[in-house]
């Protein structure tokens, strides 16, 4: 209980360097896999671990790997998704910046399991300095024989490259990412075919999140069964949570899945409670795309059970009373937060980031932003709330990729749980002026 797997060496000085990383047991999973295991055996361990994708969708990784098509004579690719652009999420940057070799090691072990001889880490352009850190780690791995031809004297060869993006949230969606990696605009592809059949350059491809790939290292080292002992139910293992907003201790926390939400928010081990002694109002638990929940529903499910930090518990009650673990971007809001203004902020984000392929998303996100702006400008009408509801419902499920859903869900949830706040702004526009929308920075210093 409480054992760290990914961040266990985070405190060790110099762990960014190859020598220190290696001295602390680094690259053992590559040795074990390449020297003593078949590729199928590695996939089997990942299946046994119950690991689920850490990028947001939570799809079982072992299953995804076993879907990879293996036509003879055709290259297969592993692509790591380091686009990390979901608002509220910063765990992948933390991991790559502080323990870069863990990702490189995970990429080698995973590429071996999938039979990929060329792999790419697609990283968002703004993380240019992190890309440099990864490239240095890759150079060290080549120099020490972990990459290149005939790794550890085996038949297995692998080349690994960092690919830089250039600013586009949509490129985190796996098929948009592949388009971008091919040197094109980040327009998502229609599925099927899934990347497992026709991905990068039309070849079978697995796309996995940074954290997912890093988790393969302890899974191979200790065995899938050992990993599956951590966590609760189908939420096995540990999860990196990016905690931010109005809390005393923002940061990245590696938790055992299943920690109670209340403990996570209020314990000094984690967020350390709400800053400035304020009351706690709401949480967006898994990155900006997941439904916002008011304090009572995030602490306890509608059935009155304590809510846990797990895929199942956070989703308990469906969208009526629950939410999602998503990417683990945990944004906490205090009593002074304007839910309507926060929603406008999110909606502006989705409008800005829509790739524009599908009309419901391209137009709808803009309409929602404008209507929210109108309400905040003091010109809203009661029918605007219904209009917002109507538009979000006409985006959800009607687009090529899930960005449409991601834009619709926050709107639906804000209306569902905080309708009275919208109504108050519309009935009494003066109240908008009184709302403290954000901390004034000068006050923040004295807080």
């Amino acid at each position: 209980m409480g054992k760290k797997l990914l961040l266990k060496d985070d405190h060790i000085a110099g762990i960014q360097s190859y020598d220190v990383y290696r001295k602390n047991g680094g690259y053992a999973s590559v040795e074990k896999a390449v020297k003593t295991m078949t590729t199928e055996a590695v996939v089997e361990e990942v299946k046994k671990s119950g690991l689920r994708g850490r990028g947001g969708a939570g799809f079982p990784t072992g299953m995804k790997w076993s879907f990879l098509a293996k036509p003879p004579g055709i290259a297969r690719y592993l692509v790591c998704n380091a686009d990390e652009s979901e608002p509220g999420t910063f765990k992948d940057r933390y991991l790559m910046e502080r323990i870069p070799h863990l990702l490189i090691e995970g990429m080698i072990t995973s590429s071996y399991a999938l039979g990929a001889n060329t792999s790419y880490i697609y990283i968002r352009g703004e993380y240019y300095y992190v890309a440099r850190i990864l490239e240095k780690a890759i150079d060290e791995a080549y120099a020490n024989g972990w990459l290149g031809k005939n790794i550890l004297g085996s038949e297995y060869s692998l080349d690994l490259y960092v690919q830089i993006g250039a600013g586009a949230y949509i490129c985190g969606e796996e098929t948009a990412l592949l388009e971008s990696l091919e040197g094109k605009r980040g327009n998502p592809r229609i599925k099927p075919p899934f990347p497992a059949v026709a991905g990068l350059y039309g070849c079978p491809t697995v796309v996995n999140n940074v954290e997912t790939i890093a988790a393969v290292v302890p899974i191979v080292n200790d065995g899938g069964d050992e990993y599956a002992k951590i966590g609760i139910g189908k939420s096995t293992g540990t999860k990196l949570i990016s905690a931010s907003g109005h809390i005393n201790k923002p940061g990245v926390y590696e938790i055992d899945l299943g920690v109670p939400v209340e403990e996570f928010i209020f314990s000094d081990k984690y967020c350390g409670g709400i800053r400035g002694g304020k009351k706690f109002k709401a949480v967006v638990a898994g990155g900006s795309s997941v439904p916002i929940l008011p304090a009572d529903l995030i602490l306890k499910t509608a059935k009155g059970e304590p809510r846990l930090m797990s895929y199942e518990s956070l989703a308990d009650g469906g969208f009526a009373t629950g939410t999602m673990l998503g990417s683990g971007g945990f944004i906490v809001m205090d009593e002074d937060t304007s839910i309507v203004k926060n929603l406008w902020n999110f909606t502006r984000f989705y409008h800005h980031e829509s790739c524009g392929q599908c009309s419901p998303c391209r137009e709808g996100t803009g309409w929602m932003e404008k209507i929210l702006h109108r309400i905040l400008d003091g010109h809203g009408t009661m029918s605007d709330i219904d209009l917002l509801w109507d538009i979000q419902g006409k985006i959800e499920g009607k687009t090529i990729c899930p960005l449409g859903d991601a834009a619709a869900w926050p709107v639906a949830a804000a209306i569902r749980h905080f309708r009275s706040e919208f109504e108050e702004y519309i009935k009494n526009p003066k109240s908008i002026k009184d709302v403290k929308h954000y901390y004034r920075l000068n006050n923040l210093q004295s807080a």
Partner: protein
């Protein structure tokens, strides 16, 4: 108009980049190469620069335009030496991003999207930069400036002004304490 041509060093890097992909797939190098071009040619991608990149990569100019216009980090208009990009999304907004933006607007005497009259600064507000736990934050070139307050913003602007150097994403980053 000065001659548009990569330095020898950049050209070598560009050639290496195109070899990272399977035979015939070198178009994959377009985005990384555009970053190099933007850094080398005054921080933005003029039509001439994009045409040049197309010729170096042996692809159509339109293939370069359509990519350059999709991604927010590529500037299709001239920018100041230092592009200040303030995160305006969720956690940064909750913790005072609007204050940072208003403060910079006043201090630099420009609005978001504009360039100061001395050509030193362009102010931009951008979406979440993956640094929400250290909000509010902003980016200049390769560097993240986190846990901001107005004094830190002032100190940064003064320093950038006195250094007077162009900042690009491809710069070597300043040392960070982890």
């Amino acid at each position: 108009m000065k001659d548009i041509r990569f330095s020898e060093e950049s050209m070598a890097l560009v050639q290496r980049m195109m070899k990272r992909y399977p035979e015939g797939k070198h178009k994959s190098a377009l985005i990384p190469i555009l970053h190099i071009a933007q850094a080398e040619f005054d921080g933005w991608l003029s039509p001439e620069v994009m045409n040049y990149v197309a010729s170096v990569m042996n692809i159509q100019s339109i293939e370069v335009y359509e990519v350059a216009s999709f991604y927010s980090m590529f500037n299709l208009k001239p920018v100041g030496k230092c592009l200040i990009e303030v995160c305006r999304t969720s956690s940064c907004w909750l913790l005072g991003a609007e204050d940072v933006i208003r403060h910079l607007e006043k201090k630099l005497n420009i609005k978001v999207g504009e360039t100061s009259s001395d050509g030193m600064f362009t102010l931009k507000s951008v979406e979440c930069l993956g640094s929400c736990g250290t909000a509010p934050m902003l980016q200049v070139g390769a560097d993240y400036y986190e846990n901001l307050n107005l004094e830190k913003v002032d100190a940064l602007v003064s320093r950038l002004k006195s250094e007077g150097k162009r900042k690009t994403y491809t710069d070597l980053p300043e040392p960070r304490t982890l």
